[in-house]
Symmetry: C2
Subunit: 392 residues, 2 copies
């Protein structure tokens, strides 16, 4: 069951992981989506780390945000230049300790990193779906994760953990499958996007859809809407950082020169950084997936979807123990949204711990090395794991 | 000298104004720009309101921000549907009282509302400049305003007033022509853009330059880069508002429907609002002017340009009395930047009043009706006007 292998790499313990796939919902048994549309077949790409214990009580599901994938940590090969996206947190002896826990992470429905999404082949046409792919929701993403767990024979999660749009999936998990989730960790997330967050996503989508190469989403056989996707990524990057982080990271420093150039090239380092981030992103990400995942995030609205417009009602059946963390400089998912969420859960008598971590780096903080965050997560997992063990 | 006319319009006193032009720097007497390039001829479009008094001691220069123009207030005709951009502030009995003061406002150099800019005809080619227009600075804009005042026979300003990029021009005025400026009002502005502000401007510029219709700025005889300019405007609009303003203005309200549409049309009101603002803007604004004016704002750096990297040094020769106002929810030019500016001026022993106004509407607050702002400006102008009179 476990793909985790200890590997000696010059004295540093590196976990080698492998991307696996599970395909289900073969026609005519399409998965019914929240929109009412059916979708199938669906392939889900996933990776695991650590050893599943005998009573399957050490399973942690990690959910990823917009640009993440199943490759949460470790390396595919010993000479891999880069580990997974949350390697600072997940691994032997780390915040999410793979010596103790069996960690699963899968690419979201609508993504482009192995799980079925708009770039996948539409079985009815033999061509990529493009915009014929149905609009999916956070609930649909979680439904697919549930099918994967069923396939793996796992009926209980010690914890679900995710940040940002990953945190929305965590919220969806504790509400939709309360009996399956012992604990949940919510990082820099919200029960519903503010108008500001929707606005930035919409600008990104408009940038993509305005690109002449977009061709109504049908660009897989020709040039891609790279300029639009790069712009969308640039907007994203600014919203993930904070004023303060950008000031210390770039300030007004010039790029490779002492004086102003009096032209429209990238004169400031921050301009050069954004252009680079944009151009790098288009090499690994599908523009249509950007549309679908951001739309799912914008649609997410716990009260509306689960509580007849009441968030308190939406959490009524939840039993999971909760750790929620926000970051002082996160202006995309500000602390007040986490506080509102904590209030709602407390009104339902839930066991909730909340911490606002002082951090300069904005929304991205949850992805960056932070001893406080790692320690909070580690201790919380130890606690719920021990309480679970005592209860057995 | 005055174009201000009292006009009876159903009992409401409406000022009819007229756009005028002054052309100078006819070759070979080109105006020398900060970049070292020469530019000429230069036409400056301007409007005035109120009556110039006999000793010319009641002149107020209003400077405009990115999308403004010389039409600061009043109407061109009695049946005009809309007044100038700051009609709430400028007019008979208003914060800037045209019964007392003679108000001048001109379109900035690089603009597209009558003053020479990239859409103007390049005399050497007979075609629009496009990107052959030299990169201009806030200092160059102010230099042109100075030539206009010389032309109008005005050698002393009771006050210079502006917000945002207009505020940068005010700062440039008090530093470059200290002997000409009695008082200055700085609204929601900064001595230099943060990396965050540069980043948003750069995204706007990239959106324009990525538009295939941009054609390296040479689009005047063909289709315009409207999609890029609309995107740039959408980004701008989000940065001018605040999280709170967007929450109360739009929240998560849907556009003309009760349920989610599960498509990529504008489902939320905020999406619809942004698309509308973008499409409206392209009808009145030139994309190249957007590039040039935002670049001038990004380049503006008082310490670098006037103080050998010291802002205190830059303000050393300033004598103007200052009123600076910031707004609590302005995250583009946050209060800490105004406070830094006030500190620098106080170190130079200047007469500075500073007020942070509680406002929900973000950076745009200075353009919106606000009794506190109007009263502060009105009282400050009365004070400096009386002190000036007493001193004579």
């Amino acid at each position: 069951m476990s793909e985790y292998v200890e590997h000696d790499n010059g004295g540093i313990s590196v976990g080698l992981v492998e991307k696996k796939f599970h395909t289900f919902a073969e026609p005519p048994n399409a998965l019914m989506l929240e929109s009412g549309a059916g979708l199938g077949p669906i392939t889900v790409a996933y990776e695991t780390m650590g050893i599943l214990n005998s009573d399957k009580s050490n399973v942690i599901l990690v959910t990823h945000a917009l640009s993440g994938d199943s490759h949460v940590a470790g390396y595919y090969a010993a000479d891999d230049p880069k580990p997974g996206w949350w390697d600072i947190m997940v691994g032997p002896g780390k915040g999410i300790d793979t010596n103790r826990y069996f960690v699963i992470c899968s690419n979201v429905l609508g993504g482009c990193m192995g799980t079925t999404g708009p770039s996948s082949t539409n079985p009815t046409t033999g061509q990529p779906y493009g915009l014929d792919f149905p609009v999916v929701t956070i609930g649909d993403m979680v439904k697919v994760q549930k099918v994967l767990l069923d396939h793996l024979g796992i009926d209980k999660l010690l914890a679900v953990i995710g940040g940002s749009i990953g945190g929305m999936q965590v919220i969806e998990w504790v509400i939709s499958y309360p009996e399956m989730v012992t604990a949940a960790i919510l990082l820099a997330t919200t029960t519903r996007h503010s108008a500001l967050a929707i606005a930035f996503n919409e600008i990104g989508r408009q940038a993509i859809m305005s690109d002449p190469n977009f061709n109504k989403g049908d660009y897989y056989s020709g040039p891609k809407p790279d300029l639009g996707l790069a712009l969308a990524r640039m907007v994203g990057h600014v919203t993930y950082l904070s004023d303060e982080a950008m000031r210390s990271k770039f300030g007004r420093r010039l790029q490779n020169r002492d004086n102003l150039a009096f032209d429209f090239e990238a004169n400031f380092q921050v301009e050069s950084y954004l252009r680079y981030q944009g151009s790098k992103f288009v090499q690994r990400f599908d523009a249509n997936s950007f549309l679908y995942i951001t739309k799912a995030a914008d649609y997410f609205d716990v009260g509306r979807q689960h509580g007849q417009d009441s968030e308190v009602e939406a959490f009524a059946r939840v039993t999971a123990k909760i750790l929620a963390i926000s970051f002082t400089s996160d202006w995309l998912y500000p602390t007040y949204q986490s506080r509102d969420l904590v209030k709602v859960m407390k009104k339902n008598g839930l066991d909730v711990s909340f911490c606002e971590i002082e951090a300069k780096c904005g929304h991205d903080a949850f992805l960056l090395p932070n001893e406080r965050q790692s320690a909070l997560i580690n201790r919380f997992l130890n606690r719920v794991s021990e309480e679970e063990h005592d209860a057995l």
